[in-house]
C-alpha cells in the first residue's frame, strides 16, 4: 500500500493517529512533479493551506493534503521568507484555485504561473500586503473598511444580461454572492463570490489551548458540528498520542450517523418545498424535529455540540437512552420509507428533479467533487468505507452511489444514506462496549502534528494540526468539503433555468461558514 508513495520518490513518514496518514517535506521545485505523478493515479486534493514558520527560524510554508488509496499524504513545502512564491497547481487540481487565493489572502504565499490571483476571503476588511495569519499580525488589529472591487467575468453577446444575487438572499441561507449571466431564463454562466462570513476562525485557534479549541472546532460549520468536533479531537489525539476508549469511538460513530440522518431529513424536506411540494417539507421537518428532540434528551443538545472532546466523549449514552433512540429511529425509518414512495411517484416533483443540475462523473472527477454529491456523480469515495478504521471496521458501512449526477441522483443517494445510517446506529448500539468514555489527554510540546479526517454528512472534513509549546496551537487548518464542491455548483447550473437554481443549490447544500472561515 505504501508503494504509491515510494513511487513518488519522496521520503514520507507515517503519522500516528486514527486514520492512515503520511507526512513528507518536499522542495518547492518538486511540487509540480509530485502533483503531476499523483494526479493520474486519481489522487484527490483534500486541502491546501499556508503557514508562517518565521517564529521557528524558517520562512513560510505551503501545505497540501492529498487523498491516496493508502491514506492521506500531507506535503509541506518550505518557502523563503523574502519571496514566498510557489508554482500554482490549479491546472493539475482545479479545486486548488480558490484555496491558493485564500492562502495568499491569509498568509501571503503566492502562486506563480497563470494562477487566478483575485482576492478570495479578503474583501475590503484588510489591505493587500497585510496577512492575518502571519505571526506578527495582531488578531485584534482593525483596518478601516476599504472599497471592495472584484473582477467578475463578464459574458457578452446579444441579449445577455446579469442577475446579481446576494450576499443577503431571499431565503434563510448563509450569505454569498451569485452572479448569473443569462439569456432569457437560461443560465449561461454562474460565478460565485464567497468569503462574506470570514470571521477569523484560524487566527482564533492560534490564541487557544488544545482543550479550548474543541468548542471552536464545533462551530466552524454548525450543521457539521459532530464531524468537526471528531476531526479536531482526532488531530489532537494524534498529536498527543492519546488513545480514546473503544466505547467513545462507538459513541462518536453513533453521533456522526445521527448528524447525517438529521441533515438528510432536513434537506429532503426542503427539496420537496423547492418544487412546490410543501407536504414534503412539513413531513420531513416533523421527523427531523423528533430526532433533534431525542438528541437534546440524550446528549443535552439538539445538534450534539460539544459532546465529542479530545480524549473521548463528554456525554455517555445509557441503556435506557439506547432503547429510546432505537425506537425513535425505527419510526423515522418507516415514515421516511413512506415519504420516499410518495416522492418517487409524484410526477410533478420527479419532473423537476430528473436531469436538473447535472454533474457528469468525468467533470466530478476532474474538479474533485466529494461527499454524497460526489457519490451521486459516480465518485465512489467514502472515508468510512475506504479506510475502515475503528469504529467503522466493526460494522462495515455500505457505500451509496449513483452515476447520473442530477438532483434526482443526489436525492436517491440521500435516501439510501438515510436508511444505511439508521442501520449503522442500530449496529453500533448493539455492540456498544462497556467502559470509560474519556482518556486523559497528555501534555504536548511544540512541533507535534496530527490529522483528523472524518466523512461528515456533506463530505470529507479534515483538520490539520501543528502544535505550539504549552498545549497550544501553532497552526490549525479546518477544511470543509464545500471548498471542493462549490465550483461544481457553478457548473451544475449550466443550461438550466434560473428558477431551478435554488433547487440545484439545495441538492448540494454547501457550507459558507465552513469555507469562509
Amino acid at each position: 500500500m505504501g508503494n504509491a508513495i515510494e513511487d513518488l520518490g519522496i521520503d514520507a513518514a507515517p503519522l500516528p493517529g486514527a486514520m492512515p496518514a503520511f507526512h513528507a517535506r518536499i522542495a518547492v521545485d518538486e511540487l509540480r512533479d509530485v502533483c503531476g505523478k499523483v494526479r493520474p493515479q486519481k489522487a484527490r486534493l483534500v486541502a491546501l493551506w499556508g503557514s508562517d514558520e518565521t517564529t521557528r527560524g524558517a520562512g513560510y510554508a505551503l501545505h497540501l493534503a492529498l487523498g491516496l488509496p493508502c491514506g492521506l499524504l500531507w506535503l509541506t513545502v518550505a518557502l523563503p521568507r523574502a519571496q514566498p512564491h510557489y508554482p500554482g497547481i490549479a491546472d493539475l487540481f482545479p479545486a486548488a484555485g480558490r484555496m491558493q487565493r485564500a492562502a495568499y489572502d491569509l498568509v501571503g504565499i503566492e502562486p506563480q504561473g497563470n494562477a487566478d490571483r483575485r482576492k478570495w476571503l479578503r474583501h475590503g476588511s484588510w489591505p493587500d500586503g497585510v496577512f492575518p495569519l502571519r505571526k506578527d499580525f495582531d488578531g485584534a488589529s482593525r483596518y478601516p473598511l476599504a472599497g471592495d472591487h472584484y473582477g467578475f467575468v463578464r459574458v457578452e453577446g446579444d441579449g445577455v444580461h446579469e442577475i446579481p444575487v446576494g450576499p443577503v438572499h431571499a431565503g434563510t441561507i448563509e450569505p454569498g454572492h451569485f452572479r448569473f449571466s443569462i439569456v432569457g431564463e437560461k443560465i449561461l454562466r454562474l460565478e460565485e463570490r464567497l468569503g462574506y462570513t470570514h470571521k477569523g476562525i484560524e487566527k482564533r485557534f492560534e490564541s487557544m489551548t488544545l482543550d479550548e479549541g474543541a468548542k471552536l472546532a464545533g462551530r466552524v460549520s454548525g450543521d457539521s458540528t459532530v464531524a468537526y468536533a471528531w476531526a479536531y479531537s482526532m488531530a489532537v489525539e494524534a498529536a498527543t498520542r492519546t488513545e480514546p476508549p473503544q466505547r467513545a469511538l462507538v459513541l462518536r460513530g453513533i453521533l456522526l450517523e445521527l448528524e447525517r440522518i438529521a441533515n438528510h431529513l432536513g434537506d429532503l424536506g426542503y427539496l420537496g418545498n423547492d418544487v412546490a411540494l410543501s407536504f414534503g417539507f412539513y413531513q420531513f421537518w416533523r421527523l427531523k424535529e423528533d430526532l433533534l428532540r431525542a438528541h437534546a434528551e440524550l446528549f443535552g443538545h439538539r445538534y450534539m455540540m460539544d459532546a465529542i472532546v479530545p480524549g473521548g466523549m463528554a456525554r455517555d449514552l445509557s441503556q435506557e437512552g439506547c432503547k429510546r433512540l432505537l425506537e425513535r429511529l425505527e419510526l423515522i425509518r418507516d415514515e421516511a420509507a413512506t415519504l420516499k414512495s410518495i416522492y418517487d411517484e409524484h410526477a410533478g416533483a420527479q419532473d423537476r428533479f430528473i436531469m436538473t443540475g447535472q454533474v457528469l462523473p468525468a467533470l466530478a472527477e476532474e474538479l474533485g467533487l466529494n461527499g454524497f454529491a460526489g457519490r451521486a456523480s459516480g465518485i465512489r469515495h467514502d472515508l468510512r468505507v475506504d479506510y475502515p478504521v475503528p469504529p467503522w471496521q466493526w460494522i462495515e458501512p455500505r457505500i451509496a452511489s449513483h452515476t447520473r449526477g442530477d438532483v434526482a441522483a443526489r436525492i436517491a443517494v440521500r435516501f439510501d444514506e438515510l436508511a444505511e445510517s439508521i442501520r449503522l446506529v442500530r449496529a453500533f448500539v448493539r455492540q456498544l462496549p462497556p467502559g470509560d468514555i474519556r482518556a486523559p489527554v497528555a501534555a504536548c510540546d511544540g512541533g507535534r502534528t496530527g490529522i483528523g479526517w472524518v466523512e461528515g454528512w456533506r463530505g470529507e472534513v479534515m483538520v490539520a494540526l501543528d502544535t505550539a509549546d504549552g498545549n497550544r496551537i501553532h497552526r490549525l487548518h479546518p477544511h470543509d468539503p464545500s471548498w471542493q464542491n462549490w465550483p461544481l455548483v457553478e457548473r451544475a447550473v449550466h443550461g438550466n433555468i434560473v428558477p431551478d437554481f435554488p433547487l440545484i443549490n439545495k441538492s448540494f447544500n454547501l457550507s459558507y461558514s465552513g469555507q469562509d472561515l
Binding site: 474583501h123 475590503g124 476588511s125 484588510w126 492575518p132 499580525f137 488578531g139 485584534a140 488589529s141 483596518y143 473598511l145 471592495d148 450576499p167 443577503v168 431571499a170 431565503g171 434563510t172 441561507i173 448563509e174 450569505p175 468569503g195 462574506y196 462570513t197 470570514h198 470571521k199 477569523g200 476562525i201 487566527k203 482564533r204 468548542k215 471552536l216 462551530r219 460549520s221 454548525g222 450543521d223 458540528t225 432536513g266 426542503y270 407536504f279 417539507f281 412539513y282 413531513q283 421537518w285 416533523r286 427531523k288 424535529e289 433533534l292 437534546a296 439538539r302 445538534y303 455540540m305 413512506t338 414512495s341 410518495i342 411517484e345 409524484h346 457550507s511 459558507y512 461558514s513 469562509d516
Partner: protein, 174 residues
C-alpha cells in the same frame, strides 16, 4: 395521491402552544405604542440576515417553520426582501465582510422596524468575539430591540424573542 392524503391524515395536527413573552430579553425601551405593535402581532413580516454565523442559528430558524412551531399559524412569516419586512432577525457575529450588507439591509427596511439579535454570537460576539475580521455583537452595528442568547437558541426561544419584541400581546395568538 391517495398515499399522500393518507399520510397527512395519519399525521394529524402536531402544533404546540406558543411560548409566553419574556421581558428580560428586551435590550432597549419599547419603542412603539400598542397600536403599531398590535398590527405587527397580527401579520409580522421578518427578514433574516446571516451576518457571519456558523449556520447553527439558521438550523433553528428553519426549524421554526416546522409544524410543531407553525410560525405562519401565528401570523408570522419570513419575506424575501427587507423592503417587505417589519423585523430583522440577525444571526452571527457581524463579520467585517458583512458589515455593509447588514447596514444596507437595515436601511432598506421601512420604519417602524424591529431588530432581533439571535444566538450568543449576535448577543455578545460569542466564541468568535471581535477581531480583524469580526465586529462582534449585532448591537455594535445596528440598534437591537431584543436579544435571544443560546448556541444556538432552540426554536421556542427564538419564537419567544419574536413575541416579546412585538409587545407582549398574548391575545390574538392561538
Amino acid at each position: 395521491m391517495y398515499q399522500l392524503l393518507k399520510q397527512i391524515l395519519a399525521t394529524g395536527i402536531v402544533t404546540e402552544a406558543a411560548p409566553h413573552v419574556d421581558e428580560s430579553l428586551r435590550q432597549i425601551e419599547r419603542r412603539f405604542g400598542e397600536l403599531i405593535l398590535n398590527r405587527f402581532g397580527r401579520a409580522l413580516a421578518i427578514r433574516h440576515v446571516d451576518a457571519g454565523s456558523c449556520n447553527g442559528c439558521e438550523l433553528e430558524i428553519h426549524a421554526l417553520g416546522n409544524p410543531y412551531y407553525n410560525l405562519e399559524g401565528l401570523g408570522i412569516r419570513f419575506v424575501a426582501s427587507p423592503r417587505h419586512a417589519d423585523m430583522l432577525l440577525v444571526t452571527g457575529p457581524v463579520s467585517r465582510n458583512m458589515e455593509q450588507a447588514l447596514r444596507s439591509t437595515y436601511e432598506a427596511t421601512p420604519e417602524p422596524k424591529l431588530v432581533l439579535a439571535i444566538g450568543d454570537c449576535g448577543c455578545t460576539g460569542g466564541i468568535f468575539g471581535e477581531s480583524y475580521a469580526s465586529f462582534g455583537r449585532v448591537a455594535n452595528i445596528i440598534p437591537v430591540d431584543v436579544a435571544v442568547p443560546g448556541c444556538p437558541p432552540p426554536p421556542v426561544a427564538i419564537l419567544q424573542g419574536i413575541l416579546t419584541a412585538i409587545g407582549g400581546k398574548d391575545q390574538g395568538l392561538r
